[in-house]
Symmetry: C2
Subunit: 322 residues, 2 copies
């Protein structure tokens, strides 16, 4: 078992790392890390494949929460307070719709709605989600490649003690309260990876599982892309037994696992050859599988510098170990 420490100067060369990377990402955590990678890698060397299992229709509009969070973040349009939604947002549409009795449990900002309206219009015209995402990224000045995991619909269903719930119903409307029993990804068997995803994976030097929810952000992408023949490194979204955001720790617990970085490493054990965990969890390092290289570093991304630094650390780890 090889282990490196990010503070070792030997393992932090000042030269720029040029590796072709595919990052698999969910929402806020994945977007922050992908943004870090985007600060370091040449744009043509980074492809982000984003979970679309959370996508849903609301008010007849097709909404892709994770995809939009990743795009807005890389475009510099994300709300820095929340990590999701748009900066300088206004809320006049949903405020007025809810005055008329419309549902307001999913917060749709006005600028954000511009995205949903135009995406829905194009989908109805027959354009694919990946083509639309490409056009939107161009308009937003995003030079990296951002792909939805698939152009076919995949819908994450959270199986809970309160019954089966569509993901946003569970996540936003029910605030992750119902106890989780399992997950299924409707449509996943028919879903093809989005055009360009297979080629990007083929060309990649390594694949990074961003610090996103393993159960509902990364697993659906892995189910769609099926085989990954390249070295894979995962960054634990759980540090000190908790998540920065979202229900991953709660899900581990309700499914019978003690939530920890170790549980995340075990979850991915058949796939990954490298694992990144937070300094707070350094004592878990010895318990992580012998086929896995590990790196301990500061994984908390509080500001833009943290994103770049963590991305740099992970790229050096890949360079040195995988």
């Amino acid at each position: 078992m090889a282990q490196i420490n990010s503070e070792s100067t030997v393992l932090r060369p000042s030269s720029t790392v040029h590796r072709r990377i595919v990052a698999l990402a969910g929402g806020v955590g994945g977007a922050k890390f992908a943004h870090g990678l985007a600060q370091i890698l040449p744009p043509e060397d980074l492809t982000v494949i984003v979970n679309t299992g959370d996508d849903f229709e609301h008010y007849g509009l097709y909404i892709c929460p994770d995809l939009d969070t990743v795009c807005y973040t890389l475009a510099g349009l994300a709300n820095p307070e929340t990590g999701w939604g748009r900066v300088d947002e206004t809320w006049n549409v949903i405020e007025n719709a809810s005055k008329l009795g419309g549902p307001d449990w999913f917060r749709l900002g006005d600028r954000d709605l511009g995205t949903h309206l135009e995406r829905t219009r194009r989908l109805k015209e027959g354009q694919t989600l990946s083509q639309i995402t490409k056009d939107f990224c161009k308009a937003w000045g995003v030079e990296q490649t951002i792909l939805p995991m698939s152009d076919q619909p995949v819908r994450t269903i959270v199986e809970t003690e309160a019954g089966d719930l569509a993901f946003q119903e569970y996540f936003v409307h029910r605030r992750c309260e119902p106890r989780v029993k399992g997950f299924r990804f409707e449509g996943v068997d028919l879903a093809e990876p989005a055009p360009g995803a297979r080629e990007a994976l083929q060309a990649a030097d390594a694949v990074i599982l961003c610090p996103s929810n393993p159960w509902v952000s990364i697993d659906p992408i892995l189910r769609v892309i099926k085989k990954v023949k390249k070295p894979v490194v995962a960054i634990s979204p759980i540090l000190g037994g908790q998540t920065v955001k979202g229900p991953a720790a709660k899900m581990f617990r309700e499914l019978g696992f003690k939530p920890s970085a170790l549980a995340v490493a075990n979850h991915y054990c058949d796939l990954i050859s490298g694992f990144v965990l937070d300094k707070i969890d350094e004592q878990l390092k010895g318990d992580i599988g012998i086929n896995m290289s590990t790196m301990v570093t500061n994984t908390l991304m509080k500001d833009l510098n943290d994103r770049s630094r963590l991305a740099q650390d992970v790229l050096h780890f890949i360079e040195a170990e995988l």
Copy 2:
């Protein structure tokens, strides 16, 4: 031929007029006059039946321009500058959608979009347009009855030298430029008056054709409601050969009629027994059909007082003459 002059004190009693009125209305001009009636009549005595031939789908949303203009105006939510749309409006949705390549020829404000989103959501749930309108009016504090002319879709097609154009395509996108050859109202033969419309017409003491476009605002409503057995009075939307807003004068001209209050009176001659024309057109009074009472007054509605005053004049005219 009876004629009255609004300046005659005899014909302007100070007592409140209590007549049950059904007003047929299109957009801005009709909304302003209906607003005037709403200042004077008890709410239960006023029903406004609104043209829905201009309705269309845009970005997948069901939009009712005339209905919304009437509702917003009676609710005090209309933009006083334009006469349509919402006061204190923002434009973040459409601005962002158009940055992504979306069409921006139809100006959709953010607050206004709240209406379209919730209406579209309810229509998809199976609610009728009249039920939705009733609920919206309640939420907006509108006590008068506002009815769409029908719950079934009727679509005004403008037959032009540039081909057949859907109404908003002609009106907004092409700025009424193509020369008009005729009109048709798709679906009108299958359209039933909205629930309550027949009863309101039955109970009415008089029907008022608001100063709206005869060809594309009032005619579609008349085609749907078919028979009117009550006295009908029309207010000319053309004064001094011109309209305040919209293409009615241009349409008369392109269809071979000299645009004037007289042309409007002739257009409605089989239906109306009273006609209201502007002072600027006083000289036309003698040419108006002998079966018609006429009133000359100031029909221009520049401010809220003008709306009430014109409504009062018309109600007195009805009281005295019809």
